[in-house]
Amino acid sequence: MDIGLLGQYLANGVMLGTMYALVAVGFTLFFGVLDVIKFSHGDVLMIGAFTGFTTYLGIVAIGIENPWVALVAVLVVSIATTAALGALIARYLVLPLKSAPPLNILLITLMLGTALREGVRLFYPDGSNPKAFPALLPTASLELGSFSLRADSVILVSAGIAVIIGLNLLINRTRLGLAIRAVAQDEETAKIMGINYTMIVLVTFAIGSGAAAFAGIMNGLYYNEVNFGMGLLLGLIGFSAAIIGGLGNIYGAILGGFLFAGLQTVGAVALPFASAYKDVFAFGVVIALMAWKPTGLIAERSSDRV
């Protein structure tokens, strides 16, 4: 295999890994503050993508043509809507079930995911078919032999990594982040410190969901297509990535995301059996990894959250 192709695979993998990592970070945040898995995360991502798509249609309808203006509007509206949705989910579905068996939250959010998905499929105009997400980024491409790198991919990956770094700084360097970490480590003591627990939980869910919306838009801009089922597998993979990395640890989520992307790419191109086995391969490795490192690659120590 020549270097160009290798570079191409690498570029694909990085793109994929960035998206997975963004989703995984959300899982890790929710798990950190509330010890819960919010399984509707993938579908919230889909809602973010559809909100962005609808915003774009609206922008075009009022006659704004500039793609950068459209992009900003799409991002702002979709992240805000999805963040609000995340906070609502936390307030009305997750917090009320805190004292119930933890699996119930998993089930209720799974069901919510189904409801969101079905809702879009049934009530969004022609929702059961894929939608063409506009290409708002410059598409100039750099061709180096068999390696083709497009400007939009570069922008997307950079933006995605910037968001992850930003989230990391937010968690580790700000007063809000301090409160989030405090809640994650010891809810009750955090309250005693005067932290408004409910508010922090809602804000965390809003942040995680906003990140999902960003991932959704990124997905749309990259694949130029969104559909009602896009969140299902992404959610599943994001969850697996968060777990193999080690739950409650942002670095773990990032590691897990890139690892999963790598496994899929390797499974599809570098292994002797048919490429359709790539998911079998990727998930098989996940199982083996869990047997080897039962608490993830970056192990969660006693109460190492966020």
Binding site: L97, L103, I108, M111, L112, G119, L236, V286, M290, T295
Partner: protein, 394 residues
Amino acid sequence: MKDDVMKTPIPVSLPPLATGLIAVAACAIFGWLFLLAESEVAVLGLVLLAVLAGWGAQKTGLSATLGTAMHQHSGAMNGAIVASLLAVIALLGTEHFPLLMLSTMLLYLVAALGLNVQFGLTGMVNFAGAAFFGIGAYTSAVLTTHTAVPPLLILLAGGLIAALIGALLIVPVVRTAGHYSAVVTIAFGVLFKTFLEVNEVLGGPQGLMVGSMNVFGWDFNNGPVLMGHEMSFYVNYALLSSGLAILAFALTRRLERSWLGLALDSVRLDETASACFGINVVRAKVLAFTYGNILAGIAGALYGMMISFIAPNSFTFSDSLLMVSIVLLGGLGSLWGSALAAVIVVLVPEKLQILQEYRFLLFSVLVIAMLLFRPQGLLPRGVRSYFPGGRAQR
């Protein structure tokens, strides 16, 4: 499908046993009507009735009386429940479809009981229930088409193979806990389905035919003739599924109330403490995991024969979720809860067929509502009680 789905206010003065028997009879009649209900009006009416009855039973203390009845007269009550199940099957007699649904429900219950031992007792999550169910079904497909193994043995083989393949997961499942083991089973579920689809040997995405059940020359795909009337061939499957469900129920109950059950409970509550008391945590987990998979495998094997055609699409992650919902909706560790939830999870989406494409939306909203209003499950498990010999009482 019993206990709580009670209706008609009964004077509290009746002795618990009488109340209990009337309740069981009422549930049986209700179940029979619900299975037969076709029109949206009838279905809606019955659902409303059940909700009202459940609510009423709580309010009037009827459910407490029922609890007492189950507690004090377990022999009579269990007998009555089995009898009314048989009565419902007999009443349905020639009705193919309701019998098919009833059998499906019972088989899902068997699998859910297995999961309940994993989830509810031992605290091990398993999101690959449908995969183990599927392993059973595929085992029966291969064995009925390619071998002459007696079908009753095939059921056992289904359970055994499910346990064997499950053994591959034992290391990661035992070593991990909580969400980490959730991901192991989720990964396995996805892997299983994808493998079946990609692979050609087991029929690929197309699926496989499954031979019918056959006990000593009695082919289950021919309707039995009873007093000159030909019954639906599904009566065979309904009877066998009932037998399987009753057996699984009794066995699981027995397990729950034995020393072993106590050990599993303590593993769930505190692994470290259990280890301190000399409980072999690893062995307990291996046992619970295997037990659950065997039940799922056996149920799947019979399900495959009944449905007579299987494909990877029938054993997806979302099917595993249905099984998980049965366990959680019923209440973790609650066997009767699983029974009630199996009815809801299997039957309600089917009855919602009248809503066509809207049915899953409504179903998911319903489950969300149920979880919000009854976070501990519909019939939460009572405080455990250990009885030497495992007999009765609750």
